[in-house]
């Protein structure tokens, strides 16, 4: 993707310059920007080393684990159908906390692990659904997501913990409801302190580089709130359609 975007920037820019006689300025612009990128990196080298160093202290001292442990009520609200004992809970909590702290390198591996565990959970549900439909003689068609209204045996991953009804698993190759919710919330951005942006603002002579922290948290809260509402709403639509 970036290959297309970047070649468009260069090719269209130089083409435009040739047509409008701005080729010398364009050459100067490219060279100056390259130098500017390096001086920006020098500023960032200081700020990001300091910040990553601080965050490393937190990570090694077990701060992410500690905070992730407090996420249980949030997870129960967002993912009511993941059984409490399931390892996916832990990975999701870890990913979310690491994202909030801006620890991208710690967040991504945990997030990918969460996706794998959610897929395993869905696979368990699929197998149970096959067994279940065979045992009661009714074919459970692999409809997208949602519930069927048969009573389920207790203690299965198929039973919705929140409603006591039976979940209808997503077919293979399709995202489960939990995956969609997890990713939408993840992409809605959770980062609380945008240290990169503070570094850029410092480099460009801002009078108050950190002044954006409060507004950035507010904007992040807005986008995350919209993400949560949307997921809850889609969840409801999926259930009604299937039920």
């Amino acid at each position: 993707m970036l290959n297309y975007l970047w070649s468009f920037m260069i090719l269209a820019g130089v083409g435009w310059a040739a047509l409008h006689g701005t080729l010398p300025e364009t050459a100067r612009g490219a060279l100056e920007a390259a130098g500017e990128a390096v001086s920006l990196c020098v500023t960032m080298l200081g700020i990001m080393s300091l910040w990553m160093g601080i965050l490393k202290i937190g990570e090694r001292a077990g701060l992410i684990d500690r905070l992730a442990g407090r996420m249980a009520p949030v997870l129960r609200f967002l993912f009511p159908d993941i059984p409490a004992y399931h390892p996916a809970n832990r990975s999701i909590a870890f990913n979310m906390i690491a994202n909030m702290l801006g620890l991208g390198w710690a967040a991504t591996p945990a997030g990918l692990k969460a996706m794998k565990e959610l897929e395993e959970l869905e696979e368990e549900r699929r197998q149970e659904a096959e067994g279940f439909s065979a045992s009661c003689g009714a074919a459970v068609h692999p409809a997208p997501r949602g519930i069927v209204s048969h009573p389920a045996p207790r203690g299965t991953v198929l039973r919705s913990a929140s409603r006591g009804t039976i979940l209808r698993p997503a077919p293979r190759g399709t995202a489960s409801r939990e995956m969609c919710t997890f990713l939408v919330i993840n992409i809605s951005s959770l980062q609380l302190i945008p240290m990169n942006m503070i570094a850029y603002r410092t480099q460009y002579g801002s009078g108050a580089p950190a002044a954006i922290v409060g507004p950035a948290i507010a904007a992040t809260a807005v986008s995350t709130a919209v993400a949560v509402l949307f997921c809850k709403w889609m969840d409801g639509v999926g259930r009604r359609r299937a039920g």
Binding site: T26, R28, G29, L31, T220
Partner: protein, 175 residues
């Protein structure tokens, strides 16, 4: 607004205090941990330097040739009618695909208008409250071989749009 700005300035020192204090309470060798992390941070920055050079040069070419001005003026009329600053739109769109390319465009705004201008503040908040939608989705879904992504894209775009709207509003309030 003054209070928010003041609290903003306090968040970072307090966070540093909390984390270092937490590490000390856990009896960690905090300075050694710090140095290890700082090394990683330095490597990260050096790692992204070639990307930044490439993208900032690309933005430099677009700006100096006059193409960037032409592109943003093209849609400026009806965008500003809606209250959307036209310079923000390319940043928001590019951010869906690549964080560093969006940074390149944002820095161009800093250079032209200054980071504390309304536009500079808006773009700072915008890039802090949005994620690279398409990149993240492809990495996460590819890892579990999922092709049909359900309502993820719609939700992610909606959330990003809400974040962008909030940024424009907050940028206006702050300046």
């Amino acid at each position: 607004m003054k209070l928010i700005l003041y609290l903003s300035e306090c968040v970072i020192p307090l966070t540093i205090f909390y984390i270092v204090g937490f590490g000390a309470l856990m009896r960690r060798p905090v300075y050694d941990d710090f140095v290890d992390g700082a090394k990683e941070g330095a490597q990260t920055v050096i790692g992204i330097m070639p990307t930044l050079v490439g993208l900032m040069a690309g933005v430099g070419v677009m700006r100096e040739s006059g193409l960037l001005a032409c592109l943003s003026e093209g849609a400026a009329g009806w965008l500003e009618g809606l209250g959307i600053p036209s310079r923000i739109v390319p940043v928001a769109l590019v951010k869906l695909f690549s964080s560093s390319a969006a940074t390149g465009l944002a820095l161009d705004i800093f250079k032209e208008y200054g980071p504390d201008s309304e536009l500079g503040l808006t773009v700072s908040i915008l890039l802090s409250c949005t994620e690279t939608v398409f990149y993240t989705m492809s990495v996460y879904f590819m890892s579990v071989k999922v092709k049909k992504t359900g309502y993820t894209l719609a939700g992610a775009l909606l959330a990003s749009g809400a974040g962008a709207a909030a940024s424009i509003l907050l940028g206006r309030l702050m300046s």
